[in-house]
């Protein structure tokens, strides 16, 4: 029987790792993710998890050790955030290029400078071109479930890509919520054993992993990472369906909320989706045709689902806790690309919000609504808007 309990997202991630039974874990402490390696250390110390836990001297070595272990053919897991993920950056490309299905739990946190330990998505969003799949959890249950789902998708022969699961610093990592821990036997059946045919470092069948490719071969190697990302779109749907069948919780790449007759749709990710859905309810009560949508899967980018969503809205307001300087948010860029060649498309308005742990309030969302309304009525509006700025100290 699944156990219903309460825990922080960090604990949920550690539980997910325990249930997935990785053989090697390598991790380094960093706020707000530190509780994950702490909890895993306990599991290993108590004999509840039979894994090698390598207490590395940096995140660069954490991911490098995971690459080594995964290349030797075992399931591997790590957790990090912020500067730690940034330090891994170089090796993230390598893990994807070597097609190693490593899973990272990311406690989404801002990047320096100035140093700040609180929530936004600049850390994982800035890894969006590494070839890794990216999932974002709205709550602690999703953090647990998406880690299991990520292992299953990542290890699929058609995919063989690493994956990171983002959940918001403190808002989720340190906040206790009800979580259902699935049965070990059901998880075992769901995940199966990882037995790769492309990476094993086995003396009985020596192969060379991590080669150099000249211009005659490099593009094809990178193209296979593109292809794997494309394949992952279908595999993710299959795995979501299987997960629902086994565990009873439904996941979609884009989860829509009251979008059917909506004129303005607020799109976001992570825990902010909860606030936004509440805000939509609040607007609906006032007769405003608003809806919400949340991306559970950010990479591979759910282009088809975005196009379907776009058909339902006149204005899409993108609420994002990240920024590309001089351009706008990543979602704004990705939505623009998904829709640019569509005949009919909604107006996109971008909102940079909640950076470095700044609370997102209904008052902030009112501001988002006002600008979105301007766009809806054909008035002039700014494409990229920083919401909740304390202009008085600028």
């Amino acid at each position: 029987m699944p156990i219903r309990t309460v825990m922080k997202a960090n604990e949920a991630a550690a539980w997910a790792a325990k249930l997935a039974k990785p053989k090697v874990i390598a991790a380094f402490p960093i706020t707000p993710s530190t509780l994950i390696p702490e909890k895993i250390s306990e599991f290993v110390a108590n004999g509840e998890l039979d894994a090698e836990f390598i207490k590395v001297e940096s995140e660069h070595s954490a991911i490098s050790a995971c690459v080594g272990a995964s290349a030797a053919g075992v399931r591997t897991f790590t957790a990090t955030a912020s500067q730690g993920l940034a330090l891994m950056h170089e090796v993230l490309f390598i893990a994807a290029g070597m097609r190693l299905p490593i899973v990272i739990a990311v406690g989404n946190r801002s990047l320096s400078a100035p140093i700040n330990i609180w929530n936004d998505w600049q850390d994982s969003i800035s890894q969006r071109d590494t070839g890794w799949m990216q999932f974002y959890a709205e709550n602690n249950q999703e953090a647990l479930d998406l880690i299991l789902i990520a292992f299953k998708v990542a290890e699929d022969e058609r995919v063989l890509l690493p994956a990171m699961i983002g959940f918001d610093a403190f808002i989720l990592t340190h906040t206790v919520e009800p979580v259902e821990i699935p049965d070990q036997e059901v998880v075992d059946e769901f995940l199966g054993e990882y037995e790769p045919n492309h990476a094993y470092l086995d003396p009985a069948r020596p192969i060379t992993q991590g080669t150099l490719a000249f211009p005659a071969h490099y593009m094809e190697a990178r193209y296979t990472v593109w292809e794997a990302n494309e394949n992952a779109k279908k595999v993710i749907d299959e795995v979501f369906a299987e997960f629902e069948k086994r565990f009873g919780r439904k996941y979609q790449k884009i989860e829509e909320y009251r979008t059917d007759d909506a004129e303005i749709v607020f799109v976001t990710m992570g825990s902010l989706a909860g606030t936004v859905k509440e805000y939509v309810d609040h607007l609906r009560k006032k007769g405003i045709k608003a809806g919400a949508a949340k991306l559970t899967v950010y990479r591979p980018f759910p282009t088809e689902e975005v196009r379907e969503l776009a058909k339902k809205a006149k204005v899409i307001a993108l609420l994002e806790k990240n920024v590309t300087f001089s351009v706008g948010g990543a979602l704004f860029q990705d939505f623009s690309r998904a829709l640019v060649n569509q005949e009919e498309k909604p107006i996109l308005v971008d909102f940079i919000i909640g950076l470095g742990g700044r609370d997102v309030t209904f008052k902030n969302l009112d501001e988002v609504l006002e600008i979105s309304k301007k766009a809806l009525s054909g008035e002039e509006f700014d494409e990229v808007n920083w919401i909740g700025l304390r202009k008085e100290i600028l």
């Binding site: 063989l160 080669t211 193209y223």
Partner: protein, 105 residues
């Protein structure tokens, strides 16, 4: 004449060689570099005088390629497919059984 210890590799790579991209750009055939005949780099070639050889194995030990293997009687055999002509074998040979001569081709 003894066989190259890489004969099986040469045959396998001929049989199985493929440019087809593998997941992770893995090179699947061990020792497949043997298809690259680096002997073409050579300017000077080692000439071996068996009569002078005392089978000290130094040339065999030092050759960086390796382009020297041993025959049934443990005399060195020079594999000109791969020898780049560095001349370390000749320089280290204690009995001058190896001398470097200009490549004639």
């Amino acid at each position: 004449m003894a066989e190259s210890p890489f004969k099986a590799d040469i045959e396998r790579v001929k049989r199985e060689y493929s440019e087809k991209m593998t997941p992770g750009a893995v090179a699947r055939i061990p020792g497949s570099s043997v298809v690259n005949k680096t002997g073409s780099w050579r300017v000077f070639m080692p000439e071996f005088n068996r009569d002078k050889c005392v089978r000290c194995y130094l040339c065999y030990i030092y050759c960086p390629e390796p382009a020297i293997y041993l025959d049934e009687e443990n005399y060195p055999v020079f594999d000109y497919d791969y020898c780049k002509g560095c001349g370390i074998c000749a320089n280290e040979c204690p009995t001058d059984a190896i001398v470097m001569v200009r490549e004639t081709k």
